[in-house]
């Protein structure tokens, strides 16, 4: 997909919110859009997602798109499941596939028990899960997330991180805005920075390392734990990305370490005693201790 001299303003006499943005979105890329409040991040995402037509320039080669808005207030006369079924059909899915995907995503995001409840009665976080589920139903080639993590519980945030990973691994592109600087750090392939005048530039390309600029890809984080029970160790071993978990040490690629850390910190009776990084290629311990985040 390509943005060609894209500009956007909300009326002929209004100021340009986004102007002259010419950037490519390659398959398999994970793009973080950055900028201060009011610099047009949401507007740029809406134009990229095809929700809003650009006022100038054009967007070409957009694949099938899933869009998650900043807030999803519900307020519709459907149950969560019925809404997802309708949206699945709009996404082009049919009958049984639509139903299966709707149930699958409600389940993955931890909303299965609320499937039959009217959207009007759902909490803000639960509505957000429905909004995320609808965007993922059709395994879109472009996933656009506008602060989609806000209001989610920890498990759902992890599920969304994993879903983003799946989209990228499938060759899809993902664009997102989030206030948490550490969000998906290590997996991001490109950062677009909006400068306040509506212009966007690539701030960094290639695999962006967390911290000191070393490639995060070949770093392994070793998390040492005390008080880990065998059942919990088994749960960790089943986590996506976890390389090994024996005794009190979990080995996980740097890209997935935050999620594992969040999980173990949430467990009662489990203490993190040390976190350090080693080179995956050599197995050598790096000098110094890396912070968890």
């Amino acid at each position: 997909m390509r943005l060609e001299s894209v500009g956007k303003r909300y009326g002929p006499r209004r100021p340009w919110v986004v102007r002259d943005v010419s950037l490519d979105v390659a398959p398999g890329s994970l793009i973080r859009v950055e900028g201060r409040n009011g610099t047009g991040k949401s507007t740029l995402l809406r134009v990229a997602a095809g929700v809003s037509l650009p006022s100038a320039g054009r967007v070409t080669g957009r694949p099938h798109t899933g869009y998650v808005p900043e807030r999803f207030p519900g307020g519709l006369p459907f149950s969560a499941r019925d809404y997802l079924l309708h949206l699945a059909r709009v996404h082009g899915l049919r009958g049984t596939v639509a139903a299966r995907r709707a149930d699958e995503w409600l389940d993955r995001l931890g909303a299965a028990s609320f499937a039959g409840q009217p959207l009007r009665e759902l909490s803000k976080g639960m509505c957000q899960k429905v909004a995320i589920a609808q965007a993922l139903l059709a395994r879109p080639g472009l996933l656009v997330l506008d602060e989609a993590w806000t209001g989610l519980d920890q498990a759902a945030r992890g599920a969304l991180d994993a879903a983003v990973g799946e989209r990228v691994a499938d060759g899809g592109a993902v664009m997102f805005v989030d206030h948490d600087q550490a969000r998906l750090a290590g997996r991001i392939t490109e950062r677009w920075r909006l400068d306040g005048s509506g212009r966007a530039a690539v701030a960094a390309g290639g695999r962006v390392a967390a911290g000191d600029g070393r490639s995060a890809q070949d770093l392994v984080v070793v998390i040492e734990l005390a008080g880990l029970e065998p059942e919990s160790a088994a749960v960790l071993r089943d986590q996506p990305g976890v390389l090994s978990c024996d005794g009190g040490a979990v080995r996980v690629p740097a890209a997935a370490s935050d999620e594992v850390l969040r999980q173990v910190l949430a467990w009662d009776g489990v203490h993190v005693t040390a976190v350090r990084t080693v080179r995956a290629s050599t197995g050598q311990a790096d000098a110094g201790q890396a912070a968890g985040r």
Binding site: R46, T65, V68, P69, V90
Partner: protein, 237 residues
């Protein structure tokens, strides 16, 4: 497009936004049918009352969906022209609701009015007799209803979000333009109801010009509404 229409139709039915137009239209037609009205006059009345109903049905569909879920639907309906299709589906669904109400109104009028001929009879037999003996009267009444339906849908699109976003102003504007459209001579609906002065004949054809005018009005206002929805933001209802 089918999935979009299905979604919008479900939204209309489940949101109960059809109840007010149905009750209002039923009441207006019942007022018109009180006493014994000739079929041609009854059909004119039910056609005229379809205009405000169609306008307010369009208004309620345009305000039925919060901006955020509309955006999700617009993206899902893509990848190209998603918002255009999403907005068009909203307008078409409202028009479809108007068609259903108009059809119900026409059948009701047929059942309760006196046939336009020398043998007054009412009820189902009367309706069948009227349709068989005076198809011209019935068809002319339907054509008038179509003019009013299209004009009403055009007014609904013109006077509401995203073209007119202030909710209170939009409601008032819709009401004012509906009254104008029924009363002012330039309106296709008014022209259709005047039958070009040919009130004497039993079959009151609206004429071709009002039909063309109403269709043109609909095309222009719908295009404006669709483009506004796709280019600007839709306001939060």
């Amino acid at each position: 497009m089918t999935a979009l229409l299905r979604y919008q139709a479900a939204l209309l039915l489940r949101s109960n936004r059809w109840i007010f137009p149905l009750v209002a239209y039923g009441a207006l037609i019942a007022v018109g049918a009180a006493g014994s009205t000739p079929l041609a006059e009854g059909l004119d009345w039910s056609a005229a009352m379809l205009l405000p109903v169609s306008a307010f049905l369009t208004r309620s569909m345009l305000t039925a969906e919060p901006d955020a879920s509309w955006a999700c639907v617009a993206a899902a309906a893509g990848p190209a022209a998603g918002p255009v299709r999403a907005q068009l589906a909203t307008l078409v669904t409202a028009l479809g609701g108007g068609v259903v109400l108009g059809a119900v109104g026409a059948v009701f009028t047929l059942l309760t009015s006196e046939p336009a001929g020398p043998r007054p009879r009412s009820g189902v037999t009367g309706a069948i007799t009227a349709t068989l003996h005076y198809p011209g009267v019935f068809l002319a009444g339907l054509a008038t209803a179509v003019v009013c339906l299209l004009t009403g849908a055009a007014i609904g699109a013109l006077c509401n979000t995203p073209l007119l976003r202030h909710s209170g102003a939009a409601a008032l504007a819709t009401l004012a333009v509906v009254i104008l459209a029924l009363a002012a001579g330039v309106s296709p609906a008014n022209a259709a109801l005047r039958h070009g002065g040919d009130v004497a004949s039993a079959a009151r054809w609206p004429g071709g010009l009002p039909l063309i005018g109403a269709a043109a009005l609909l095309a222009v206002t719908w295009t404006a509404s669709v483009l506004a929805a796709a280019r600007r933001e839709r306001s939060l209802p």
